[in-house]
Subunit: 356 residues, 2 copies
């Protein structure tokens, strides 16, 4: 990965930012993110897939291969699960030096209801053979990355792949998957950063050795230097974000709030633990007060929070919010740095001008 | 407007690029752009609107004011119209010096089927009084721009507002408008750049003098210098774009194509004239050959085009495409420059590596 010393974004990064898109943060107000507002990160291109000819192949280290059409899959048990998904690179563009890749600020998140069939019974039907250690998920999107010609693919350990909540999804918010979210079928791995939930799924392969492809062994690892192996990026770190209050200045996005009570609201989530508290600061993190937290719509969905803020008068404020979880974790004030710019869950800072 | 001398994008521009989004160019393959892939430019925030309480107010220089609920509007004559919409700032980030605003490359386009009711009968019902010269459309989105506190609003002359194709739309591709595209109601002005099609419409006001608000008198004007009045930006300039062929390199987006025949395809449109031809060049614009052009789905929708390309062998190529129209116009090889970075319809250039 290249690093940029400057605050300015290169044209190559802009090319990615113009293709992929975040969720404008005012969309935190929707419990379920409307289609088109959910964040989207596409490594290569949206592939052109003929759904009528498409089959999901399930094979590798199994007793019997399966080949399933979309209709075959739809006849299986169907579940619908609200899942908060975040890109592992969310917050990358706030790091210094900046890892050069998709330059996310804070918007790479969304909460959708995914509908599909659990993976586990399908793997059981194929029959894992002794010695199966991982399950590989291969997308139909192709490109070059790190000088490797590849289809996008990622693996899970057998234990993780057999978890009840892992879905093969053909629905998003009650409608067929849009092309950009993986039509006709994608993997959804609740609680994990989005790179795990392989889109445009073509093949599920049971492996008798760990997968060492690009997206597993080079991408998505916590490293401080190129020559380290690093630990893999897995579950989503604890985080809260707020709807920026008031109205924006078009160019600077600075927020303007009229004096008087201002109800702050937002969402909080964690892919590892349960969010137990959200706190708000109006002085850049010097002091904190507890927000009111709502129950999430499911074990993998974000929680809503609100906080009535009474600014002391006109002036400049820096609003912050942070979530804590039942493992005692909370969010850092300064971003945790790594070479890929992953899992930056540093506290959001929203500069606000209160007007008299 | 500020100008940037550098190729690099500022963090302020990135904030806009992370919120707004273009249509990844491979989505040119869809005749109708799927929701979530259509380009989106939001000046301020997506407003929170209670559709049950919402009313469209029609007033100003009229015989009788109207106040209409969404149900009232839905009971009126409904039409559905495929319309190619493009942002006036598309191509801005390719200009030098670069006007600092939303840094579009080429992706700020889409073709949706808008469903709604024609504006004209509604204006006739309200009854334009003598002396009516313009119709003002006020959105419910608020913000600060050019130091002016404002709701987003734009006007049309009475003659333009009374054109048959101008719609008040509550549907996009057969579904209710998504929040980010103007729910519950937006204006759609076919043939014009997108800034005209005011989203989250709250009020239609007939004026007895020209509107001189920010988005009309300062924004969206062709100027070479700040002290000029300039001509207004209106209809969409003639343009063709192609689906970048082959597969991309993740970071550079350079295209890799295997040797052999490669069918190029794309779309072409014009808001002023009728597209009569598309040509393709494989040598950066030195020589051109005619592509096959399809009929558009309607008078305001883009046309498809295709061109079977037989590269002479492995190597580096620069593919280009350009449209011509029935007024004798075509696209320039070099971008037309103006202070706001509007209407840059310079020929697309796609660097391609053909591999043996």
């Amino acid at each position: 990965m290249a690093l940029a010393g400057s605050d300015e974004i290169t044209l190559e990064e802009l090319q990615l930012a113009a293709r992929n898109h975040g969720m404008p943060l005012e969309a935190l107000r929707y419990p379920l993110t409307p289609v088109g507002l959910h964040y989207l990160l596409i490594h290569y291109d949206i592939p052109a897939i003929d759904a009528a000819a498409w089959r999901l192949q399930v094979g590798g280290h199994v007793r019997g291969e399966l080949s399933l059409s979309l209709d075959d899959l739809r006849e299986r048990a169907t579940v619908r699960l609200p899942v908060t998904m975040e890109c592992a690179g969310n917050g990358r563009a706030k790091l210094a030096p900046r890892p050069v890749s998709q330059p996310w600020l804070l918007e790479a998140v969304g909460n959708a209801e995914w509908g599909g069939t659990p993976l586990r019974p399908l793997l059981e039907e194929a029959g894992l053979l002794d010695g199966a250690v991982e399950v590989l998920f291969t997308g139909l999107d192709r490109g070059l990355e790190g000088d490797v010609d590849q289809q996008y693919e990622r693996s899970l350990t057998v234990a993780d792949a057999l978890r009840d909540e892992v879905l093969l999804a053909w629905e998003m918010n009650g409608a067929p998957l849009p092309p950009q979210h993986g039509y006709p079928l994608r993997l959804v791995v609740p609680g994990w950063y989005g790179m795990t939930s392989v889109k445009w799924l073509g093949r599920v392969t049971v492996l008798d050795r760990p997968f060492d492809g690009y997206q597993q062994s080079r991408g998505y690892r916590f490293r401080q230097a190129e020559d380290e192996d690093g630990e893999p990026v897995t579950r989503i770190a604890t985080r809260a974000l707020m709807v920026p209050p008031g109205v924006p200045d078009f160019m600077t996005r600075r927020r303007l709030v009229d004096v008087g009570r201002c109800v702050l609201e937002g969402r909080a989530w964690s892919g590892r633990h349960r969010v137990t508290a959200v706190e708000v600061s109006a002085d850049g993190g010097a002091s904190w007060a507890a927000a009111e937290l709502s129950d999430p719509a499911g074990p993998f969905a974000w929680s809503g929070w609100r906080f009535p803020w009474d600014p002391q008068g006109p002036g400049e404020y820096t609003l912050c919010c942070r979530a804590s979880d039942d493992a005692g974790g909370t969010q850092p004030l300064e971003p945790p740095w790594n070479l890929g710019g992953y899992a930056n869950n540093a506290v959001q800072r929203v500069p606000v001008t209160v007007r008299g």
